[in-house]
Subunit: 303 residues, 2 copies
């Protein structure tokens, strides 16, 4: 049943969306873990290793791999999913790969829908793997209770990692490929960057070495993930995060609804389309158009 | 005057925004070139080399470097701007580095404002350099008349480049660091990927080798950029792009306005905040909340 529902939700079939409405009250039980990081850090391998470990501890888990697949990539890109997919035969594991193609900013929205489905289906752990850059990345990170940022030595000069903004959303950082040269330097740099940025935090962000392909460090990562959810619960931060996740999801939905209306053509939204054409012709400034449109949303902050 | 106005626009000072409204009718004359690509491809160096070439041809140009700066990066990241900044002494060049920190999705909006300012100031060429991933990247790319995607050998296995989705927005592709091993392979792979994806396009996407630090291939890149704007004008595509840019900017503005209202606290938007809290408490599904909110935007596509 779950694969069929997931397909309906992913395709935004009305039957899938209605099922989600019905199932939504059952959600909020799963621990949602985002796994993000730059391309080449070994996120897929780490998630596969983590899944092995979770299963070894007797727990069930679902994985949602959000592919930043372009329309020209075809099937080849999914090759690195194969190992993970092999675990499909295990009934305690559900793996789903979701393509981002053609979603026009609706990626975070679609991801949230699938997370809710897996949560309602009773998986206590839902891992969401994503390349976490840009607005989509931030939106997807904000769906998670715990964000694991995966880095690796040799992915630029360390400054690239900081530049990406990924570190700011990380609750746990993994330096994968820790058997390669530069791994210790990478950890030290990340430690210094975190301490500089968050000198007064009550919780220190763990920065853990791992070698996904041998499984080294993966048990410690799972412990850190479990510790984080305990901390969230005890500190009251879980409620804060869940409110943030709801807000991010609703905003993503509004954005998508706006984009879709525009996509559907000018005849359906004459006012908006006409304002945009006037902006393109330089008859109206972008700010004037936005102000005209947002007045429709109710009283502004300043009024 | 320009640096001062740029600061006012970047800080969203009301005086800057009013100036933009007044100046907006003067815009639309500049050729806006987006330069995007993954971290490490050498975008900054290529833009600096391109600027040298543009000046050598006797033209003026402005550069807007949009930094994906995180709040923890500080000034170090800006080090690679220094060479470009040195060209500041030349009055035919205006360079501005804009940090993305704390913009909460408003990056594309702020970028568009600065592009309009540089356009109104009379620069015939405005180069916008950005790490073009995610929604921000797509939004910024859609501001440009011509998008140059910069790749380099050794940034993963080629598949990473395809995965990123950057290729789809590229009007011109540069394989930078073309003197390094793997550059020819990278070009061949990119050529094959483009031909596969766009078999019937009237215009073939140029895939050009370059070595930014020596200036090799940069003259050919400038020619390709000039050819592209000629093609845009002759094919009528320029009008299509300008309409797309206006649409993207207005949508980015609406998104930002929505985000800001939420940021400003619940007392200003009781209805939205209350709907989000109900979603967080699982009393209302995200879809129901979005439907309730988008009804305020007027008749939907289906009604």
């Amino acid at each position: 049943m779950l694969p069929r529902l997931a397909t309906l939700v992913e395709n935004e079939d009305p039957r899938g969306l209605e099922a989600l409405d019905v199932l939504y009250p059952l959600t909020g039980k799963a621990h949602v873990v985002g796994v993000t990081g730059p391309p080449g850090a070994g996120k897929s391998s780490l998630v596969a290793a983590l899944l092995d470990r979770i299963r070894a501890s007797g727990r069930r888990a679902a994985v949602l791999a959000v592919d930043p697949t372009s329309t020209i990539s075809g099937g080849a890109v999914l090759g690195d999913r194969i190992r993970m997919m092999e675990q499909h035969a295990d009934e305690g594991v559900f793996v789903r790969s979701m393509a981002s193609r053609g979603r026009q900013g609706g990626l975070a929205w679609a991801t949230a829908g699938l997370v809710h489905l897996l949560d309602a289906a009773g998986y206590p752990l839902v891992l969401v793997e994503t390349v976490g850059t840009g607005q989509d990345g931030t939106d997807i990170a904000s769906l998670a209770d715990t964000v694991v940022v995966v880095e690796a030595p040799g992915l630029g000069d360390g400054i690239q990692a900081i530049k990406s903004g990924l570190l700011e959303v990380g609750d746990i950082v993994v330096v994968n490929k820790a058997d390669q040269p530069g791994a210790d330097d990478a950890r030290r740099l990340l430690r210094a960057a975190f301490d500089l940025a968050h000198p007064t935090d009550s919780r220190e962000t763990p920065i853990l070495p791992a070698v996904a392909i041998t499984g080294s460090g993966v048990a410690e990562l799972l412990t850190a993930i479990d510790d984080h959810v305990s901390w969230l619960t005890e500190s009251g931060q879980l409620t804060v995060r869940r409110e943030r996740a709801a807000r991010s999801e609703v905003l993503a939905g509004i954005r998508m609804a706006l984009d879709r209306r525009l996509e559907a053509g000018s005849s359906h939204m004459p006012e908006l389309a006409s304002l945009i054409s006037r902006v393109a012709r330089r008859e109206l400034s972008p700010r004037e158009a936005v102000e005209t449109l947002t007045v429709m949303l109710g009283p502004s902050v300043n009024s």
